[in-house]
Symmetry: C2
Subunit: 318 residues, 2 copies
């Protein structure tokens, strides 16, 4: 197959002239003495044979690679990976917040009425704070998670209030703790007209922005007293690795059925199947939790950072 070698030689020449030299295919055609479609074919060959290596010389290049891989593997609509900020401290979610805010703004820009639902968490809160003020009185925002802790205090991280303030939109808060103290309390809460009304609005939401929670001693769920230490131990015993809206999941992303699950008041994940569920979560520590959410197939979009993305791509053997 000496013929093939010659073709490759010429393909390399064409590729060089095109990609490095920046010539048009017409110029290359006359320089190489072939027709324009011929150059076309040579370039296709060069790419196909891997003669052309493109490298993007920017920290984001890695992020894009992982983003692409994650989108493909888990069938997402998008995955934004923000670079790891070397200056940032441990809990810094600024980059993540900005990236999330951009996604959020894409929805808000629309002029026709829109219903969006929000979860809780530092990331969600930071996202809405990173958003610039924009007048959108036609929109509606609704919380997917109760914003009252077991001790009666309000959830510090609820984003709906801030977002509605910034946009002048309507707000719907879920008047409940994330986890009821008993099955009866949960049923009583869910029986309230107000609760049902809010749930109905959430059902109509087009997209949902949620955080992803870890299940360990540093879990927000535990630190904010939504669950007790004993309950945490129970979850850990059942191999819970993360939670979405308070619903604990195992490694495979299946919601764990246990005493706590039965008392969670958040809207069921299945309800969001038809919506665009977008998760915001960053940091290698959150990796297992994010991966679980992905494996469960719950997510349509993900905004994360380089270290979490690396954990994910390294765990799933791509």
């Amino acid at each position: 197959m000496d013929k093939f070698e010659l073709k490759l030689d010429q393909a390399a020449r064409a590729a060089w002239l095109s990609y490095v030299g920046g010539r048009t295919q017409d110029e290359i055609a006359s320089q190489l003495g072939v027709s324009r479609p011929g150059v076309q074919r040579l370039l296709a060959l060069a790419r196909q044979e891997g003669l052309v290596k493109v490298h993007i010389d920017h920290p984001l290049a890695n992020c894009m690679v992982m983003s692409e891989a994650i989108v493909q593997r888990f069938g997402l609509d998008f995955c934004d990976v923000v670079p790891a900020d070397p200056d940032a401290g441990d809990g810094d979610v600024h980059y993540l917040a900005v990236a999330g805010a951009e996604r959020l703004a894409r929805y808000l820009d629309r002029s026709d009425p829109l219903t969006l639902s929000l979860g809780t968490g530092r990331a969600i809160r930071a996202m809405v704070e990173a958003l610039s003020r924009i007048d959108r009185p036609q929109h509606r925002f609704v919380s997917l998670v109760g914003n009252v802790a077991r001790d009666g205090s309000s959830n510090r991280y609820d984003g709906v209030m801030v977002l509605a303030d910034k946009t002048g939109a309507e707000r719907f808060l879920l008047p409940a703790p994330v986890v009821a103290s008993s099955l009866e309390e949960k049923q009583a809460l869910q029986g309230q007209r107000l609760f049902q009304a809010v749930a109905e609005v959430a059902r109509q939401a087009e997209a949902a922005f949620v955080g992803v929670g870890r299940i360990d001693r540093r879990a927000t769920l535990f630190q904010d007293h939504f669950i007790s230490e004993m309950e945490l131990e129970e979850l850990l015993g059942l191999d819970a690795v993360g939670e979405l809206l308070g619903w604990p999941m195992n490694q495979a992303g299946e919601v764990i059925d246990c005493s706590i699950t039965r008392r969670v008041t958040s809207l069921p994940l299945g309800m969001l199947r038809g919506q665009s569920l977008v998760a915001l979560a960053a940091g290698r520590d959150k990796g297992p939790a994010i991966l679980a959410a992905l494996r469960g197939g719950w997510l349509k979009g993900l905004v994360t950072d380089e270290s979490a993305a690396r954990y994910i791509t390294e765990s799933e053997n791509f």
Copy 2:
């Protein structure tokens, strides 16, 4: 200028999606949430800032770089650089011959009558031999250099005969030695009607394919007995480094005026100014001679190899 950093980030993203991901600008636009012209600008920025590195993974890549540099530096119409063949021996001109033959074929393909002139040398001979047979009776080929040695033998490397045979074209040979033994002999030769007729045909040629000769003990001019040892010494004393059609040149490419020059019967180089003078020469040893021809501005095209091209690009500080 934090604004600029953000732009660059996005430019990197766009570049990645475009060059690595192979998306269209429309897809990138919707993914990044900017307009299509916006993506355009981002990509332009990415290229301008050198974020995009393209590497052609083929031995020819180097050649193309040098080719480009030589074309630019010496204002050529083209410069083909063939890769150094690791298998090839010292005097192997096969690649060179094939590359030259391709250039030659580009001329021959034409259906309207064409007059081409040829110099001598191994490379020229190999070129016409590498050419595939093609019927072109309408063309005319003429030699620019006498094909008779001082001892009366015919020049082994004359290409016109072979070429005319292969194409069925008319042939015009210069009935003279390259270097006449005296000024009188030269004038006598040039006075011949036959000589003048051939010269006139050469004058009408559209392009000329010539070799480049070294001036040293291994010079073809000397080894084929066109000049004597004493004459060689004289040329070396005058800093001759190469020759075109028997005309010796110094490093700057100026034709050296000396006793030998005055007896050279080849057609004067100046006559070829309006034509496309294409030189074929390869090998690092020929570097100085080729460089001289280039510096003299005699050439419109060059077919050479990697080692000679390297010598040239390294000598001229690009």
